[in-house]
Symmetry: C2
Subunit: 243 residues, 2 copies
DNA sequence: CGAGGTCTTGAAGACGATCAACAAACGTGG
DNA sequence: CCACGTTTGTTGATCGTCTTCAAGACCTCG
């Protein structure tokens, strides 16, 4: 097993893989690329010839708005195939940007195409991961449209806890959270100032602490409750049948 | 050709279909169901055994919020496979509700599974449509997070014009728009009152009229400009290669 | 013609944005 | 290891936007 280790582990969450399938995934990676923080992995409007799998670090997807601002549409953590959609969509409607230094594996679209022809089960697994992305989008829409800023913030912390735990990147009830308040604002549709005040509110309620890039959940039950969070939409541990 | 006509026409937009593939799609429909307005097609939390294709009428997808409200996450028009994602996601994270009386075709998940095994090209086309759904979600997030209410509203009118045109449901620069202001509010994350005032603003600017459920675009250029609309994300007319 | 839903209007108040200034943390090089 | 500069986080005050509540007008369909 090479660098595809994290990809096989991620997909195995959703169903067992044969040795052959694991090899196919391992060989699918053509290259591993390193990025610094705040660098473009793929730009909005690009037509990439490969998709990117995050091996290490945090990244996000974003769309620009005419006046110079941006909307962050997703956060990505190791194991995420952050632009798998470009395999079929061709032209990127959003861009991928690193939030921290990242190690990224590249998988040529040609290889993915071959997988869709020869490995229907792997295809369903890959399709499945893009459907989860869409489910996360919907949950974010709910947050932006109908939840209070504090609920929205609490919700993100819940979501990331579940997602990071599923790839082994939590320590107890804490995890690394290297996202700045300005970036949170761009994700929530709030000003940086308001994000700051919202975080203070969560701290005052003693449901979490956030110091030096480490987020610690003090009261998981109450955090979920404040966020109206249910992990169902993340589909962790759901199995796709092989046949 | 039977009721799958609209499905083949929709998918043919994205690449040619062989006679065999058309037949497969035609036979995939197990049943056609009629719904009145404001009826559940699939409920949030359901585990349906089939997916629904809208043949006639308008529908939406929605998520409930604890306090009794809802967030509409998508509008659906004829030709849309509104819950294709339930094929792999199993448990619905959102619900499908009709906005007007609808005719809906049901396609068993078992049949879709078979297609993913035997027809890789059809599979890619179907996957593609779910990726467009996700791209629309992202565009809505941009609207909710970063666009003014009037831009958001203008954007929806642009989007629906392009989508309805692609299935032949526009007449000149007008189309049927049976969505109430309360429903728009649930989609935009705005109060009904504010939606009303926003529509007045658009009318005063003479870019559109909306009377008796007919939306007429008076100034397409300016409407797009106000909305920062570019149809790219809808990928109409993009072709998927067969091999 | 009447009833229910939808649209419209006004006024009050809550909420979040913006601006500006300062504090704290971080990292980089001396 | 400390000094310094830059980025990130924090605070207060003001202003505009959107919500809420409540009432009335307008459709539309039986």
């Amino acid at each position: 097993m090479g660098t595809a280790d994290i990809l096989t582990r991620r997909l195995e969450q959703f169903g067992p893989l044969s040795d052959e399938e694991k090899q196919v995934l391992d060989r699918a990676i053509s290259q591993v690329k390193e990025f610094g923080a705040d660098q473009d992995v793929v730009r909005e409007g690009d037509r990439p010839s490969h998709s990117s799998l995050i091996l290490e670090g945090f990244a996000c997807r974003q769309k620009h708005v005419p006046d110079g601002g941006r909307q962050i549409t997703a956060f990505h953590v190791p194991g995420d195939f952050c632009d798998l959609h470009s395999f079929l969509l061709k032209k990127m409607d959003d861009g991928v940007v690193t939030l921290t230094p990242c190690k990224v594996a590249l998988v040529p679209h040609k290889t993915i195409r071959q997988i869709t022809t020869d490995y229907p089960y792997l295809t369903r697994l890959l399709w499945f991961t893009t459907l989860i992305d869409a489910a996360v989008h919907r949950e974010w829409m709910l947050g932006m449209g109908r939840l209070s800023p504090s609920a929205r913030t609490a919700h993100l912390f819940c979501e990331l806890f579940v997602r990071l735990k599923s790839v082994g990147l939590t320590e107890g009830n804490a995890y690394r959270f290297p996202i700045t308040q300005a970036e949170l604002g761009d994700a929530f549709g709030l000003s940086t100032v308001h994000v700051n005040r919202t975080l203070q509110e969560l701290r005052e309620q003693r449901v979490l602490t956030l110091e030096r890039g480490i987020l610690t959940i003090c009261d998981w039950e109450r955090l979920q409750e404040m966020a109206a969070f249910s992990p169902d939409y993340l589909h962790v541990g759901q199995k796709i049948e092989r046949n």
